[in-house]
């Protein structure tokens, strides 16, 4: 059998980029995680020492790392179902018609996803402000005392997650809309001929046909929420007292602000393994599902 070179030549550039900028950094991080590299070591490689698993041991006895893990888990549990359900719901409603108004609404829902996070953080920071934020002002009109949206450790998590949910639905709505428009009209017509109500049609026909889109959105949303960084970084910088610090933010603080590259690399390897395991579990369960 003659080996055809053309396919390999076409995928080579993308593969090389992926290997160089995706796979190689992970291997380098793995290597660095076994050293005590910091800023001094960065300047002079002879100062770097091999310390084996010390970074990992220190990581698992670090209370702030556990707090970051708990926070990340909580964010994922709050955020992922919210994003999926909200995106699906909005997509189903937007699919109702193709008029100009509905098409304008699509852009409207997509805009938060493409707006710069710093701009969003500035605006939401002022909305949430305890003294002169819009939310507290509205609450004061109905006699509710000011709420510390971003200062209360428990409430701050929900406030930050809310902004991320608002942003995260944008892209997923577009994906679901595209999938919805791939649902064959014959099935819907047949269902209405059989006398099914619109809700019944949606639940029993449309949603099962969206299985693959839902699966794709679930995986990408879970991966995104396990890497939750932008919103806590710009809104609360991980505060108050680490209540909104997620694992990526923890890694950023130890790696870039404290320049403890070895320690942060160990943390990033741990995060990588968590995400990989979660994704593999989902893929396996999907395969089992499809085989049935």
């Amino acid at each position: 059998m003659k080996i055809r070179l053309a396919p390999y030549a076409f995928i080579a550039p993308a593969s090389i980029l992926l290997l160089a900028f995706g796979v190689l950094p992970i291997l380098v991080a793995l290597l660095v995680s076994f050293t005590d590299m910091n800023l001094a070591g960065l300047g002079n490689w002879s100062r770097i020492q091999f310390i084996g698993f010390d970074n990992y041991v220190e990581l698992f006895t670090d209370a702030s790392f556990w707090q970051a893990l708990m926070n990340t888990g909580l964010f994922a549990v709050i955020g992922v179902p919210s994003v999926i359900l909200l995106s699906l719901g909005v997509a189903l409603l937007l699919n109702h018609s193709n008029s100009r108004f509905f098409r304008a609404l699509r852009s409207f829902y997509f805009v938060p996803a493409i707006t710069a996070i710093v701009a969003i953080a500035l605006v939401w920071g002022y909305l949430y402000n305890t003294q002169f934020g819009l939310f507290n002002h509205l609450l004061s009109l109905v006699g509710v005392p000011p709420v510390q949206w971003l200062s209360d450790p428990a409430l701050a998590k929900f406030s930050v997650a809310l902004v991320a949910i608002w942003r995260g639905t944008g892209l997923n709505i577009i994906i679901f809309l595209a999938a919805l428009q791939g649902v064959p009209k014959e099935y819907l017509e047949a269902a209405s001929l059989d006398g099914a109500s619109r809700i019944r049609t949606t639940i029993s026909i449309t949603i099962p046909l969206l299985r693959f889109a839902i699966f794709f959105v679930t995986i990408t949303t879970i991966i995104a929420w396990l890497q939750f960084f932008d919103e806590p970084f710009v809104l609360t910088k991980g505060g108050p007292l680490g209540a909104t610090t997620s694992v990526p933010l923890f890694l950023y603080q130890t790696g870039f602000s404290s320049s403890q590259f070895g320690y942060a690399s160990a943390g990033s390897v741990v995060l990588f393994l968590i995400i990989a395991i979660v994704t593999v579990i989902q893929l396996r369960s999907r395969r089992a599902d499809v085989d049935q």
Partner: protein, 413 residues
């Protein structure tokens, strides 16, 4: 036809952007008539104006690059990793230890600076001169500009509440703050920034204790620190300070919600520009004290990149920047206080009442100990401990014990 033409626009735009990105990183090759200077801030215009006489006299072309404060860490890390740095760089004192530890700065020992009289240690104020900023016994920077913390107060609001003079001791401040907080809901007497790790240190110093032992190890287990914690938590317990993390101190001062603050000269500029109508209704006073009224000395130094290929030019520039004349010109251009003693004694500074207070305070101010990563480790641990006591009601004894444990092994050596 139209479609084909439009199709080419996108790839062309992307290619142009990519090429622009590639060419932006052109660093100066080793040229003895050039110097690259990294200045922190948003604009290099003022600094370029400042060094214009130097450029004329020496014939050296000075390329000033403005680095925003937020990206200082990243820029420096990249420079250390790649080996391509500037020739001269501004170093915030809180970052001095980190930069020095990287080994990227040129040691400025007596032999190196012998030819430059303006760089002698006694030219500068004691808090930052010579060995005060030495790390591991080695001096790697010279002082540039100074910053300190003083008491800002709304004289009109204080008078309305029967306080004719600003408080001179911390106990007086606490009592005054309690009186002012009684004005009503949403009105406080003082503001403690939850991110300010210098404030509890100032309070400790003023109650007679250092936060490092004679050997240089960090030690918070002292009576002075205990008094500082009493004061810090007392202000919260009295209800005199706001508890939300997003309190805007400038707005709070202007609206009167926080009529007393401890802050630096930048706040004076912020208040003057945001609320010029408040002129005459506020002023500054030396920081309150107890056994001592010592404040913190912050600011920036200047360092020379170790791998520079124009060492003479760099040192000549440092020498130029350390003359009283240049420092006073810089104060006029940028509002940052000089570190050169003779500049601080100049009439132009003494005539402005605010600046007179700052300069006087500079004579009784010391830098935070140069431990590795104050902001990320020791300072953060200190703030987390204090904030968890006052904001979440954590047990004082065990929280402080944990703090002593966590920071006890950090040292300036």
């Amino acid at each position: 036809m139209k479609r084909t033409r439009l199709v080419w626009v996108a790839p062309l735009a992307i290619t142009t952007l990519a090429l622009a990105g590639c060419s932006a990183g052109d660093s100066a090759a080793g040229n003895p008539d050039e110097l690259t200077v990294w200045v922190m801030g948003d604009s290099s215009a003022n600094f370029e104006e400042l060094v214009a006489p130097f450029v004329e006299d020496s014939g050296i072309d000075v390329d000033v690059v403005a680095i925003p404060w937020d990206s200082v860490d990243q820029k420096f890390t990249t420079a250390v990793a790649s080996g391509n740095g500037p020739d001269v760089l501004q170093i915030g004192i809180s970052k001095l230890r980190t930069f020095a530890d990287s080994g990227a700065l040129l040691p400025l020992d007596e032999a190196t600076v012998a030819d430059y009289p303006n760089l002698a240690a006694d030219t500068f104020i004691d808090g930052v001169s010579g060995d005060a900023t030495a790390i591991g016994g080695e001096v790697v920077s010279v002082p540039w500009v100074a910053d300190t913390r003083v008491l800002f107060y709304r004289s009109d609001i204080l008078e309305e509440n029967g306080i004719t003079e600003p408080p001179t001791t911390w106990d007086e401040l606490r009592a005054d703050a309690k009186t002012l907080a009684k004005r009503g809901d949403g009105q406080f007497g003082y503001y403690i920034p939850q991110w300010d790790s210098a404030l509890p240190v100032i309070m400790t110093w003023d109650h007679g204790d250092e936060i490092v032992t004679a050997d240089g190890a960090v030690d918070f287990d002292t009576p002075g620190f205990a008094a500082a914690v009493d004061l810090y938590s007392g202000l919260y317990a009295d209800g005199s300070v706001p508890t939300n993390a997003d309190f805007d101190q400038t707005q709070g001062f202007i609206s009167g919600a926080a009529p007393m603050l401890v802050s630096g000269p930048y706040l004076a500029n912020a208040i003057s520009s945001a609320a010029p109508e408040l002129e005459g209704k506020w002023s500054v006073a030396p920081i309150p004290g107890a056994d001592d009224d010592r404040s913190v000395l912050a600011g920036s130094n200047l360092g020379v990149w170790g791998a520079t290929d124009n060492q003479e030019g760099a040192l000549a520039l440092l020498d130029f920047l350390s003359t009283a004349e240049t420092q006073l010109t810089w104060y006029g251009l940028d509002g940052q206080l000089p570190t050169v003693k003779s500049a601080l004694e100049d009439e132009s500074l003494a005539s402005d009442p605010l600046t007179a207070v700052y300069s006087a305070q500079l004579n009784n101010a010391t830098i935070l100990p140069l431990v590795p990563n104050w902001d990320g480790e020791t300072g953060k641990a200190l703030l987390d401990a204090l904030n968890s006591i006052v904001l979440t009601g954590a047990d004082r004894g065990s929280t402080l014990d944990a703090l002593f444990q966590a920071t006890g092994s950090t040292s300036i050596n």
